[in-house]
């Protein structure tokens, strides 16, 4: 009876681990989608309302999900406090803090944090173009990751189940 129970636990554990891996990949995909959406919203605010970035952050904060919603608002508030810190520094600091425990990888993190170095252009067309460039980079990453997930998801799940069964056979 005890052996049977242990076997069930091992099997569920390995299946759970494989699902967890798949889940993390999906979450990463969701974050990339959110980042893309932020750049898309930024682009439309810059192009149509010609608003400055702090105001853009505030406007966008109402249209994105957490944790970006809160961070965007915090960025606006810190800029409005006029402490002397510059917008790119504030962006980098706040976003680094926000993404620290998120299931995102170096590639998308860098694109998102680099945004601060891609602003300060005199005309809005160039500025909107730079935002588009960042968005396209994320889009490429999104396409890549999506195909990876499609391929790997079944393999990971199968390996999880079979690996669990194998462990059960070996250990019990």
């Amino acid at each position: 009876m005890l052996r049977l129970l242990a076997g069930i636990f091992i099997l569920f554990g390995s299946i759970g681990f494989s699902f967890q891996l798949c889940q993390e990949m999906h979450k990463r995909l969701q974050h990339i989608e959110q980042m893309q959406e932020i750049f898309r919203l930024f682009q439309s605010e810059v192009s149509y309302s010609k608003a400055a970035f702090p105001e853009v952050c505030l406007a966008v904060s109402g249209r994105v999900m957490e944790p970006y919603k809160t961070v965007m608002k915090e960025i606006y508030e810190q800029v409005a406090a006029k402490s002397g810190a510059q917008f790119p520094e504030i962006w980098k600091e706040k976003m680094e803090e926000c993404l620290r425990d998120m299931p995102v990888k170096e590639a998308e993190r860098n694109i998102f944090l680099e945004f601060g170095n891609r602003i300060g252009f005199i005309d809005w067309e160039t500025q909107a173009g730079m935002l588009e460039k960042s968005r396209v980079q994320l889009e490429e990453l999104h396409i890549q990751l999506k195909s990876v997930i499609e391929n790997k998801e079944k393999v990971i799940t199968s390996v999880g189940i079979l690996g669990g069964l194998m462990l059960v056979v070996i250990l019990i």
Partner: protein, 321 residues
């Protein structure tokens, strides 16, 4: 609205924290500060109480050019980017006009290489290498001495302020507007419409007046005067319209139209005096038609002293202070 420490703080906030140490001492004297001039590769020049000083590396003021701190192109770009929150594109219209107004009503003059449209209009500016931070100073009570002469039987007279640049006609106009709007011992407060084409009277930042123009004042910011006067007349029902620096072709026509509607006008114009005004085409017409009932001529007699001479509509001198 913006006085003492507040004014200093609003100027200090224009600089990123890395530059605040350099300008801190100068900004502490915000009440006397007129301008901070930044030119790429040139010494920082401070205009304090009308006098010109250089800024040393430690932030002190000096008359010696050798000790002056020079500012580079990248410093200038950083400061401008900080002022615009790294969103210069959002200030495209203002930069095209050559200045932008910031919180506190201060004006940042910008110059560099103009990008032209084919029609001969300025599209934008690039290589911005010159910044002139002009500090806004509202002097409450500046109009106290002239106010008694601007009313006749409790009715405000159409008034024209005449002076050369930098003598203080906008400061005087601003205080007249404030006192007319709030009401004073000569008449009750009345609705004043201000067409602030160059954002100098109200110093609007994001549509909000940074200077105190009174409780019954409506401001149309960054709008051409002639167009703005007509808009205010139609939409805000003002009793008085105030405009700065008239002189454009349509201004004269609009002033005539406004006064015909029974609305008072307070305006300023460039000129050294009545004779100078009479010699200009617009001045000749306005004087001939006796549209204005009071003329205030401002002249700088000493570095910090301005003589105000008031004339009535018959061009008779009625007061000097």
């Amino acid at each position: 609205m913006w006085t003492g420490m507040n004014r200093g703080k609003s100027i200090l906030q224009l600089f990123p924290d890395t530059y605040r140490g350099l300008f801190k001492e100068v900004i502490a004297q915000a009440e006397k500060l007129n301008e901070i001039r930044l030119r790429a590769g040139q010494p920082v020049i401070i205009i304090l109480k009308g006098g010109e000083y250089f800024l040393t590396g430690s932030g002190a003021l000096t008359k010696s050019e050798e000790m002056a701190e020079k500012i580079g192109q990248s410093d200038l770009e950083t400061i401008l980017n900080h002022i615009c929150n790294y969103s210069i594109y959002a200030y495209e219209d203002e930069i095209r006009q050559g200045f932008l107004t910031v919180q506190g009503g201060h004006r940042i003059g910008v110059a560099g290489q103009a990008i032209m449209r084919t029609e001969g209009e300025i599209k934008n500016m690039k290589y911005i290498s010159f910044l002139n931070i002009r500090i806004s100073h509202q002097i409450l009570g500046a109009a106290d001495s002239v106010l008694p002469f601007l009313y006749e039987n409790k009715k405000l007279c159409n008034t024209l302020l005449i002076s050369m640049p930098g003598v203080g006609k906008t400061t005087l106009l601003r205080d007249i507007v404030r006192q007319v709007s709030n009401g004073n011992r000569f008449a009750k407060g009345m609705t004043v419409g201000v067409v602030d084409e160059r954002s100098e009277i109200a110093g609007c930042y994001k549509g909000a007046a940074q200077n105190d123009l009174g409780i019954r004042t409506d401001v149309l910011d960054a709008c051409p005067k002639a167009l703005g006067m007509m808009m205010l007349l139609r939409s805000m029902a003002p009793k008085v319209i105030a405009v700065d620096e008239i002189g454009g072709g349509d201004d004269e026509k609009m002033i005539r139209q406004v006064t015909r509607c029974g609305v008072g006008v307070i305006a300023t114009i460039h000129g050294s005096g009545m004779d100078d005004l009479k010699s200009s085409c617009m001045g000749k017409n306005l004087l001939g038609e006796k549209i204005f009932e009071r003329y205030i001529v401002l002249e700088r007699t000493e570095p910090e002293k301005v003589k105000k001479t008031i004339y009535n509509k018959e061009f008779v001198k009625c007061f000097v202070c």
